[in-house]
């Protein structure tokens, strides 16, 4: 709502069109109704819808529940939001908490929480902020299972833009980390429509948020310029030696790979993996899945592993050879070496890799 001091309608009050006049002391103030911009991105529509739903929710709760929110708001004194400190009404606290809960995928809470567990700063070992990689590493273990990583960003349009903390927008909610790492490169591009450029200034707010409480209080602020090397240790980006199912053609003429999660660890070379294969035809005891090209650290990686049939295959044990070939031949071979080979099986575990 935009407030316009009136000079022409001293005794007028009421609404006409988008203009409302009201008396404030001895002055009449005209206000115009703010309209949404004509832009209708999916994100904007979702945000508006989420906000409107949450606001409407307050009207649906009981008076007793409303008093609970009012009491909690009074006890809070000052409420901390991602755009600053403010005192808050019960209504606005209800909307704020439930908006963040909704962002985190939680249902609206009619009851005011008995306590508000505030968000917390993050710690990390290193951070890449480049056109190809926006990756935090060494984020540590979350302290309770409800915690998610909440990330807002704003890529400045010019180096002269500064103190843009009120322009950050939600980029990602990460319910889990991948071995204490998060990669928000795709989320960033999806949100802003283009990758970062080297030299671009970026504002980031990030915190551990209790998704049940939805109370943002403390958060880490990072304003850095995008560069190729990592921002803490000044290291080049080296990917993990990992293969996922989207890197392979997950079927051959007689089998389908239903799941593929493979990673190498040092010492000198281990694999930990979980792979599920189903045979569709024939009595073959081997599968051969092409891959789309892997990192150079993959050459000729062989592991002999335990496998078992799925429940309908009576959990029968067999020994499977998993062979990753990369370079001259881009294939992943999965072959029964011993035991009764079921038509639907999973192989998993941690094993030495040899060649």
């Amino acid at each position: 709502m935009k407030l316009i001091p009136s000079i022409g309608f001293n005794d007028f009050s009421g609404s006409a069109g988008n203009v409302t006049a009201r008396k404030t002391g001895d002055r009449t103030v005209l206000s115009t109704r703010t309209k949404h911009s004509k832009k209708k991105t999916t994100y904007q529509a979702a945000t508006r819808c989420r906000f409107a739903d949450t606001v409407r929710g307050y009207a649906d709760i009981t008076e007793e529940q409303r008093q609970g929110w009012i009491s909690l708001a009074n006890n809070l004194g000052t409420y901390h939001t991602s755009s600053g400190n403010t005192s808050i009404t019960g209504h606005n606290l209800f909307v704020a908490i439930n908006s963040y809960r909704k962002i985190c995928g939680k249902p609206q809470s009619a009851e005011a929480p008995s306590e508000l567990r505030p968000s917390d700063y993050i710690r990390f070992n290193d951070f890449w902020l480049s056109p190809e990689h926006i990756v935090f590493t060494g984020l540590g273990q979350r302290e309770n299972p409800n915690e998610v990583l909440y990330i807002e960003m704003y890529p400045a349009q010019s180096p002269a833009e500064n103190r843009c903390w009120d322009r950050t927008v939600l980029v990602a909610i990460c319910p889990t980390t991948d071995w204490e790492e998060i990669d928000i490169t795709h989320a960033f591009i999806e949100k802003f429509g283009a990758p970062l450029t080297i030299g671009q200034l970026v504002f980031i707010k990030i915190c551990w948020l209790d998704s049940e409480c939805g109370y943002i209080k403390y958060y880490t602020q990072i304003a850095r310029i995008a560069q190729e090397a990592s921002l803490v240790l000044n290291e080049p980006y080296i990917p993990r030696a990992k293969i996922t199912i989207d890197q392979i053609l997950a079927s051959d003429e007689n089998s389908i790979c239903e799941s593929f999660d493979y990673e190498m660890s040092p010492g000198s070379k281990f694999t930990s993996n979980e792979i599920i294969v189903r045979y569709t035809e024939g009595l073959s005891t081997a599968s051969c899945f092409p891959h789309y090209g892997l990192l150079n650290v993959f050459e000729f990686e062989r592991s002999y592993q335990y496998s078992r049939g799925t429940a309908e295959m009576n959990y029968a044990i067999h020994c499977t050879e998993v062979l990753i070939r990369n370079g001259f031949t881009n294939l992943i071979n999965i072959c029964c070496r011993s035991g009764v080979f079921p038509a639907h099986f999973e192989t998993f575990g941690t094993y030495y890799i040899t060649n």
Binding site: Q141, S265, S268, Y306, S307, R308, G339, F348, G349, Y351
Partner: protein, 242 residues
């Protein structure tokens, strides 16, 4: 050795041999499970508390072997096993609960993920079978020996078959296998002509003084034979001679 005194399934304390570092841990031992215990019935997975100073709070997926109490054949399977929140976690499968107490063998390595860097090739060590009775012959094997632990997977082209070779005991004599490994391991001895039962036939063997000794139970029909195999990590005893 580490002793795990508390768990969520009403079991007794468990003693495991251990090698610990921040990148790899190796554990050896067995867990006895009473499937009629009310605590066991209530849980979705088995959890055993590791010592508070255990080197690894979380691991990638590893394995354990369930050996049931099904008469003679001890049918069982491989289970998911991992470390999470400083607990040793084991998948719970109830398929063999009606046969009474069962055992879970852990002879596994646990590693972390998230490494970014180069790798070196694993050095294998050559072993020879010293038996002269032709009962044992490797089909394929991989043996890796480090100062602290060993990894050994072997699939056999020749292996005793209960129906022709009797119940044993049998001893696989090996050259150059670490003499300071003393471990009980499950042997997967499912004959390929097995009936369609739940799980796979298992017998337990012991590595000691560089050799593997095992027996088949009395009154078996067929157990063992070619393509029998094992796959394990084992901690080396520091006090024994090499």
């Amino acid at each position: 050795m580490i002793i795990l005194n508390s768990n969520n399934f009403g079991g007794g304390s468990v003693t495991l041999k251990d090698y610990q570092s921040k990148d790899i841990c190796v554990l050896n031992g067995k867990i006895s499970v009473n499937p009629t215990n009310s605590a066991y019935i209530a849980v979705k997975r088995l959890e055993l508390d590791l010592p508070s100073d255990f080197a690894m709070a979380k691991s990638a997926i590893s394995t354990a072997i369930l050996a049931s109490n099904v008469p003679i054949y001890r049918y069982g399977t491989v289970l998911h096993c991992w470390i999470e929140n400083n607990k040793l976690c084991v998948e719970k499968l109830t398929e063999w609960d009606s046969y009474g107490n069962y055992e879970i063998y852990i002879n596994s390595a646990f590693v972390t993920r998230g490494y970014r860097g180069d790798f070196t090739q694993t050095s294998k060590k050559t072993l020879s079978i010293l038996n002269v009775d032709n009962l044992f012959r490797f089909h394929v094997y991989t043996y890796v020996e480090t100062v602290d632990y060993v990894f050994f997977v072997a699939i056999f082209q020749s292996f005793p078959l209960s129906i022709g070779d009797g119940q044993g005991p049998f001893t696989l004599q090996l050259s150059d296998f670490a003499h300071n490994v003393n471990v009980e391991i499950p042997l997967i001895v499912n004959d390929t002509l097995y009936p369609k039962t739940m799980g796979t036939q298992i017998t337990i063997g012991t590595f000691q003084n560089g050799n593997l000794t095992f027996s088949f139970p009395d009154n078996t029909s067929r157990m063992g034979g070619d393509r029998s195999f094992f796959n394990f990590f084992a901690v080396r005893n520091k006090t024994d001679s090499i």
